[in-house]
């Protein structure tokens, strides 16, 4: 008998009475303006959210950023901007992204309650770019900002094999005497562009 068999026998033996699965349909907190709340939440977690009016050029806006001007290596998997001098498509070994300074990607959902952005690696050949980059820029369309995690998970309905992530703010730690330090291992900064 394998351990699997042993464990399953133990789990089927003297089964405790089955407890019902609860109904999760309840009314959850929503906000008068989820886009404003989203911006506040992003700031609250140490990120920087900027709402771009339609017609404003994202590429142009990025080039004027201090973070961009200091970069040497920038890559983009965003459909809204092709600004880059490193192409993830041309890289076979993700280790080559060690010196990536700035990475730009598109999020598909923004969550007002916690400033989180959901994205998958569908359009990102090397997901490590999200974490190895010194600075991260994510975009999210304003119509894709939901109030809370319940609404977000309702949308993440069809699961495809691969990788999906909620990113809320830059990498951080408080492991040294509870002092908050931004940029522990991942991105030192997160800028979110809310697109109309």
């Amino acid at each position: 008998m394998s351990s699997r068999d042993d464990i399953l026998v133990q789990l089927r033996h003297s089964t405790p009475e089955e407890e019902a699965y609860p109904d999760l349909n309840e009314s959850w907190t929503t906000y008068p303006d989820q886009i404003v709340k989203f911006q506040e939440s992003v700031a609250g977690v140490g990120g920087h959210a900027v709402r771009l009016d339609s017609g404003v050029d994202l590429t142009e806006t990025i080039t004027r950023m201090e973070v961009y001007q200091a970069t040497k290596k920038v890559a983009s998997c965003s459909t809204h901007t092709r600004i880059e001098n490193v192409s993830l498509d041309n890289i076979s070994d993700p280790h080559a992204l060690e010196d990536l300074d700035l990475f730009i990607a598109d999020g598909s959902i923004g969550v007002a309650e916690n400033g989180a952005i959901w994205l998958t690696d569908e359009k990102i050949p090397h997901r490590v770019a999200l974490f190895i980059t010194q600075h991260l820029i994510l975009t999210v369309e304003s119509r894709c900002i939901v109030h809370n995690m319940h609404e977000a998970y309702q949308q993440i309905a069809t699961v495809r094999p691969g990788f999906g992530i909620f990113i809320s703010g830059p990498s951080k730690t408080a492991d040294i005497e509870q002092s908050l330090v931004t940029g522990a291992h991942g991105a030192r900064s997160l800028t979110v562009f809310i697109l109309d």
């Binding site: 351990s3 789990l11 974490f131 977000a152 998970y153 509870q178 002092s179 522990a184 291992h185």
Partner: protein, 461 residues
Amino acid sequence: MTTKSHDHAAKAKQFISNPEKAHWHDEALWFIREKRDKQVHSLPEWERLRELASQIKAHTISKLGSYLVAFEEQATALGAQVHWAKDGEEHNRIVHGILKNHGVQRVVKSKSMLTEECHLNPYLEKQGIEVVDTDLGERIVQLRHEPPSHIVLPAIHIKKEEVGELFHEHLGTDQGATDPDYLTEAARHHLREKFMEADAGITGVNFAIAETGGIVICTNEGNADLGVSLPKLHIACMGLEKLIPRMEDLSIFIRLLARSATGQPITTYTSHFHGPIADGELHIVLLDNGRSALRLNRAFSEALNCIRCGACMNTCPVYRRSGGHSYSATVPGPIGSVLNPVQDAGTYHSLPFACSLCGSCTDVCPVKIPLHHQLLALRNHIRLKGHLAWGKKMTMTLAAGVLGSPFLFRFFGALARRVLKTFPGLMNNRFNTWGKQRDLPTPPVTSFASWYKKNRRGDGA
């Protein structure tokens, strides 16, 4: 018989012998409790979330076998490989086997209390494999050759001066440097090298989804993701109880987890893995190690709800003033004081008594484990297993004898009062533990019962 090394009271006393440090530790953790309060009070539906989470867990645990089989099926269909380990020893052999097959020499590991429970690091190191813990707090305690003192904040007991000294020795930072930004930056560079060199990444699992075969890992630092996105081999270690039925359930648990743990609305990274990375391998190791047995122990099975948030530790007035190491266990604090003695009453019998039964842990637990009631019940359980000190048992039997008889009660009560009044200094001796820092009550002349007899009986009341 309590061995000195597992006696919480003795270790707590030692911790408090440095009252400045004990107060500092207490304030540090209370600060996190306050952050938690601020976050949860901003959600009017908080108690509803807790209730639903506990119901989802109760349901899942009642059908754990079928959900695990479903999870295995789905995960395997996605290309992951699922392994089953009945105890820590087997877990370590499985993990080592996978690493050996791939010729792995250097591993990076993100925070996993389960791997601590199995003592994986020393096992792998003995086999010649380098294991680097990449969570900053974990790396700090790893360099100090000590276990973490908290399941979420491993280095909460360490001052920045001590980190400065440690990093000066191991990372070459400036002597005397204590600035957290500077020290973290040094750790960032040091660990980046380790991520770049690693042959494999080992992680824990926060939640495993039965319906999709996916696993979810939450971090603030991004170390788990870095660790498994560079090397092609990812080994994820999880306890059987980490399972939840559906993706939708995450909406409840993700809202509860970080708020309870650190007072954040969500961790920076909440990564959902479905199958291995392209051209890579994902191995999921399921560990039992007493969990299936605990499930059948109805008095304590709710402890399986635990999502390892650490909120009970942050709020526990005893943990805050004694530190995680006083519990001599991988998982300390209130939840550890249930899990450890249930599995091994002989070694951990002091833990349920390391508790004033205040109930704060129960009220903060996001999955509503009735911790303080379980701790009380465990005391009886420990007595039944024969691990209660004979002296304690005898005292209680004698006390019950006296208190069971009104005559004896009044007799001994009056005697005690008279003796204390006549010889007030009698109690000023080293056997009087109560009197070390507290005065005794001034013994009154009469008891209530005598007063009542004199002043009210037959009074037509």
